[in-house]
Amino acid sequence: MIWTLLALVLMAIAGILVLLRGHEPELPPEDRLVSEINAFLPQTQCRQCGYPGCLPYAKAIVSANAPIDRCPPGGQVLQGVLGELLGRSGSSSSRVVELAATSLSKVAVIDESACIGCVKCLQVCPVDAIVGAAKQMHTVISEECTGCELCIEPCPVDCIFIVDSVTDVAQETKENLSNACIRCGDCLPVCPVGLQPQQLFDAARTSDIDLAQELHLFDCIDCGCCAYVCPSEIPLVHYFRNAKSSIEAMDRDRAVAERARGRHEMKSQRLLEQSKIGVRSGLELADVSALNAGELQRDIKAAVSRSSKRRQNDNDL
């Protein structure tokens, strides 16, 4: 009897030990974690986190235990994702909450009539999205701009503005209380494409984009047959269109972020190589500090008067 009990207890202890061993979280290699975090960062390279870019911030989060609530463009969503990934939470009263409005849907625009060609903005752009040359007009490649606002501050004539790049079509569809789907299935036989409107509705309502795409959301032709027959009068088409446009907006943001990351890497690489071989780029040589001080003052005055005149004209109109 006692031996049986002892054996059972021993087996239980062994089992618990095995389970505990299995449960021990296997630490992923730090590099993998860094790239994982970097993939979630918005790649605006805006330095609002206090680090020189998204990748350095990711590295700092992993190695220096940097707070995860320092990325305004990522907002609370990013904070949540990172918190889940790393198992910690940021302070809730962070500045992220206030600044969450910054996002990839903004781009910089240069008032070209006021630009004096000082190339200061070219040097700070993390993704080389501004083209121009010394004493030549500059312009922003809006497809590449991440809206990081780093170029605003160095501009001596304040001719750079941030504008909304795309009007966000994806509006949050609120849960409509008075229309509950009873899953009657009336919408199935009427769909000319053979979709499952009621399951799609569930996916769209709960913003489950993976499920929605698995159910072929993008094959929906917006014909409205399902919404017509629905006995609960659910505006199904409206839900589907909202879901489609929000998925498209997300894809667009993701593509922009991916490109921005590549361009930023390219720029860092270029700067590194230049510093190695000791070459100063044409841009640096053409820095305004190299210009005659009087000439510079004259240019700035001329630019300011030009732009104020133009603004006055605009007001008159």
Binding site: T173, L177, S178, I182, G194, D219, V229
Partner: protein, 346 residues
């Protein structure tokens, strides 16, 4: 519609069918069965229906108020009345009043609202309520009136008095087992079906009296099919499932298992086929999924009846299949236009 950002996408017209309309059709379809109940068992069923519907409406209102939903729009959809009727038809007509109250309360509060109300309940609320009663008050639920004692059934006032005051429902004198539980007991006593044949319990198709209730459900089902409230897939596949399993059993050993016709018209088969399996909220919705759902529910019904501890297996079978419905739907997606059969780009 007012909560949505404007403008809401077209279409701005809607078909004539609405949820209240559908629920009304289901209630109309139950009228033949209720009539047969009254003819066979007396007025008890009407009293039970009154109690059940009142309880259901009151509890639904309380649940809606607590959840902060508009009362009028949700009460008028009629779904809770259908729930109350189905649950009432599943229990003996002279059970004490508190049994149906407890059953309806469980069905409405736990079966329906705990899961999010109409459209979100995973399990059929009526079956959830029935199973709850079945597990809590098995004795009360087994006291069905004996068919041969029709003359002894109480009138309306007598029924009210019995349901309100009797603690056990029908007095022993006129209560009896249904044919399904009769078979169960007899088989346990090692009697074969040919030995039972003489019992008064058996009628032309199945259990005496019960066959007519099932025929009435079948008529109601015909109405639902005609009004296109249900499609043929779920009821037919359910009946095929029961019949197939029964036929198989009958071929293997006719002395222990009765034939397909008996099982189709015994117990709650037809009630399940047209009113429970077809509950759109908790069953599968893809065309292939419906067939699979109905057939499996039929098989399970037969299995619980023949091999389980309870006389009828409809409720268990359907609740088990309800749990599997989302999975079935997931794996039986129909082909999308312009795709190959695996829904890959062609």
């Amino acid at each position: 519609m007012n909560n949505l950002p404007h403008p809401v996408s077209s279409p701005h017209l809607h078909g004539a069918r609405s949820v209240p309309w559908i629920m009304r059709q289901v209630l109309y379809a139950l009228i033949p069965a209720i009539t047969v109940y009254v003819y066979l068992f007396g007025c008890g069923i009407l009293v039970q229906l009154m109690i059940a519907i009142t309880t259901a409406l009151v509890l639904e209102s309380i649940a809606l108020l607590l959840r902060g939903y508009p009362l009028k729009a949700y009460l008028s959809d009629g779904s809770v009345i259908v729930l109350a009727c189905l649950l009432t038809l599943a229990i003996p007509p002279y059970t004490p009043w508190w049994v149906i109250v407890v059953g309806v309360a469980f069905a409405v509060l736990i079966g329906k609202h705990a899961f999010g109300g109409l459209g979100y309940n995973i399990f059929n609320p009526a079956m959830v309520g029935y199973l709850f009663l079945m597990l809590c008050y098995p004795v009360a639920l087994s006291r069905w009136p004996e068919m041969s004692k029709i003359a002894d059934y109480p009138g309306l006032w007598e029924s009210v008095r019995m349901i309100a005051t009797h603690s056990t429902g029908l007095p022993d004198g006129i209560s009896g087992a249904t044919v399904l539980s009769h078979i169960k007991t007899q088989l346990a006593l090692m009697h074969t079906h040919s030995e039972m044949e003489s019992a008064v319990n058996f009628g032309m198709l199945a259990g005496h009296g019960w066959e007519w209730i099932n025929v009435a459900y079948l008529c109601g089902g015909g109405w639902l099919l005609w009004r296109r409230v249900v499609t043929w897939r779920l009821p037919l596949s359910f009946m095929v499932g029961v019949a197939f399993a029964a036929l198989l059993g009958h071929v293997v050993d006719a002395e222990l298992h009765r034939g397909a016709v008996f099982h189709l018209f015994a117990g709650g088969t037809m009630l399940a086929a047209f009113f429970v399996v077809t509950d759109p909220v908790s069953s599968a919705t893809t065309p292939v999924g419906m067939l699979l759902f109905g057939f499996s529910a039929g098989l399970l019904t037969y299995c619980v009846r023949e091999f389980g501890g309870y006389p009828d297996g409809v409720a268990f079978a359907i609740v088990i299949m309800n749990a599997l419905a989302p999975l079935i739907d997931r794996f039986t997606q129909p082909r999308v236009y312009g795709k190959t059969s695996n829904n890959k780009h062609s």
